[in-house]
Symmetry: C2
Subunit: 402 residues, 2 copies
């Protein structure tokens, strides 16, 4: 299948491009490399050194004998998106190419507006280009479980059956997102549902949970195939950050009470889920939503799992409850359905002490690159703020070499 | 009360500014006049001649002895919005300042993107400026009944109580909007709800129905106080367009079967609803939704009402069913609650033959200005298209003189 992976320079986009290529698909990788520039702005950086897209694609060709075509395209540029779609005529498009950090979107008004405009305009340009040039193409769009918030009822997969005043309908599941970034994904979901309903497009909206892990089968084949690993307060996800804190001997910082419960999944399951979605396209006109996660935990439970994994090696780990920079419920009901991908054949990698050990080992390999001052959350949901100091010149040189 | 009216150059913004001023409020009128430029782009124009904002404000001062301060500000300019808010420190902001035509948003991909960016960025800039400088200000935002679509269950006012798998929650009412424009209002609603929940702002989201009528008590006081009247296929609302068709002796054009049912209200009720919302602010942190309409009709019922009103004068009117340029249900259940504004004291002006006569008379006064070629719907929901030819030079001269 001819598949374009948009956002192919990111934490998940790159492993997805590799996985789809390894499975025999004809992969076109697209990105505008903005994430590397955002790192410079934020004073952050991947713990694991990452190569340029050119070097990665060349290495993959050498390792696997398979080629990935690479295009530097900004989805905000409508003409460029149209030209890309016309040139490659994809059968499926996997769309990761959005600003994906909740804290980044809360830094300032301009970061909030930038996030919504970037995500909405890119996705709209893509929808229009597919509608007008490859209307049968299957758009696989990354959303987030964070669109739902933490309702007091079970979370369904995108739709809910409602009985009301003696009548019935199947409706979009109501959303209550927790950041300006999460809002942008809710907006995308509505735009996508409309495109399917009115223009007969076909789309899968993957409401993904929080991803953890450092590598996949394909990324592990050569250091130049590694994907980025974020551990800072802006781009890092919670379990990855705990692992870095454990590796450097700092207490694990739990926001508030720590009862915040979310869906989680292993990065190896992300790439498999994407392939399952691609192999099982919806009908024309169908807007389909999968909740893409495998297990749910509270952030305190995750900290305790890391502590437990360390204790098995005789290592002590402290857990600190720090003031919560976010505005969110810290104790709440949470039960989210995630059946559709299992029905398509997903075999989950459940979270284990072994995986935690593995992540911590990966951190230890690069421990000299940890910038401790960037681990703590710095963006407050009420006051904004929170860019880290720009990295020192020596660190910048390393960043440029990446 | 010190109230800013954003979008004060529009069909409803201008009468609202006048009404609030007449009621003794201290009104600041804000617009960027883009609607007049969009008319030039589309080959459309107000049937009723409208004065410049300067002339209108001067005339209002002369007629009423009350002053309205006028600012030309583009809400997409964050610094300008911030300066405006700091300068006037409003207690309430009435926000009409959006691209508000569904057909306009469906002309082309660039019109769709422009609509969403214009509406989202303007509203986000406003939210941030209020949050940071007048956090207690009450934001009264115009949404649309079209956000709900046509669900098979009763439409509630913004929220719905859901029982699901033995548990209960009060959630945002699910939305199924029918155009890229309507989508932009859904996005705004989510952003607004978030601002209240996370930043303790106070907002009223007015999901307004389709407005008909030409004038209000204040606009009627002098020709220079008139508000615009759109009758074309891009900007005109359905009843106003039927009245123009009746006046020029053309058949009334009903899209498809005509069972499309919507909420409607008289322009005089719009201005009263806005004042009622302003006089009864929500608590800090409260996001409140009112469905702002007074009666519901199908578009075929409306055509029959116009035909009936004409028959009373011995005039024959034909009704033609034309191919529906939109993608929408033409026969469906529709029952929408609209209780909150009645509870606050709204006394509706129900639609009557007299009102229809009055609108047709207003059309007849300006009948030489009707551009017949712009009455038919020209934008197709599937194929886009549909700008009218640019007006002839002689018409342009008239337009410029407006």
């Amino acid at each position: 299948m001819r598949i374009a992976v948009l956002g192919a320079d990111g934490y998940l986009g790159w492993p997805t491009a590799l996985h789809l290529s390894a499975q025999g698909h004809d992969v076109v990788a697209v990105d505008n490399l903005i994430r590397r520039r955002w790192d410079e702005e934020c004073g952050t950086g991947s713990l694991v050194p990452i190569s340029s897209m050119e070097a990665r694609c060349a290495r993959w060709q050498q390792v696997s004998g398979r080629s990935i075509t690479w295009h530097n395209v900004d989805l905000r540029d409508r003409d460029a998106v149209e030209q890309l779609v016309v040139a490659i005529k994809p059968e499926a498009v996997v769309h990761f190419a959005e600003q994906r950090s909740a804290p980044y979107s809360m830094i300032s008004p301009s970061h909030g507006v930038e996030t919504q405009v970037n995500n909405l305009v890119g996705t709209l340009n893509l929808i229009y280009a597919l509608r007008d040039h490859v209307p049968d193409c299957h758009l696989i769009k990354l959303g987030t479980m964070g669109e739902y918030g933490t309702p007091n009822i079970d979370i369904e997969e995108g739709f809910i059956e409602i009985d009301h005043n003696g009548r019935h309908d199947r409706m979009l599941y109501p959303k209550s997102p927790g950041s300006v970034y999460h809002l942008s994904k809710v907006h995308d979901s509505h735009n996508l549902e409309f495109a399917c309903r009115v223009w007969d497009m076909r789309a899968t909206d993957l409401n993904q949970g929080v991803v953890y892990g450092t590598t996949t089968d394909e990324c592990a084949q050569h250091p130049e195939l590694a994907t980025r690993f974020d551990y800072d307060g802006i781009w890092g996800t919670v379990l990855n950050r705990y692992c870095v804190q454990a590796a450097v001997g700092e207490p694990l910082s739990v926001h508030g009470k720590g009862g915040q419960t979310r869906g989680f999944l292993d990065i190896r399951d992300t790439v498999r889920c994407i392939e399952l979605a691609a192999l099982n396209a919806p009908a024309p006109g169908e807007y389909r939503v999968f909740n893409q996660f495998t297990e749910q935990f509270s952030v305190l439970e995750l900290a305790e799992k890391v502590k437990h994994a360390r204790a098995a090696h005789g290592l002590e780990t402290e857990i600190h409850h720090v003031p919560n920079p976010r505005r969110e419920l810290e104790e709440h009901y949470y039960k989210a359905r995630h059946q559709h991908l299992l029905d398509l054949g997903l075999q989950p990698h459940n979270l284990s002490d072994t995986l935690i050990d593995h992540v911590i080992q990966a951190v230890e390999t690069n421990i000299s690159r940890v910038r401790r001052e960037t681990i703590a959350a710095a963006v407050d949901w009420r006051r904004g703020g929170g860019l880290y100091r720009a990295p020192a010149a020596s660190t910048l040189a390393t960043a440029t070499a990446r």
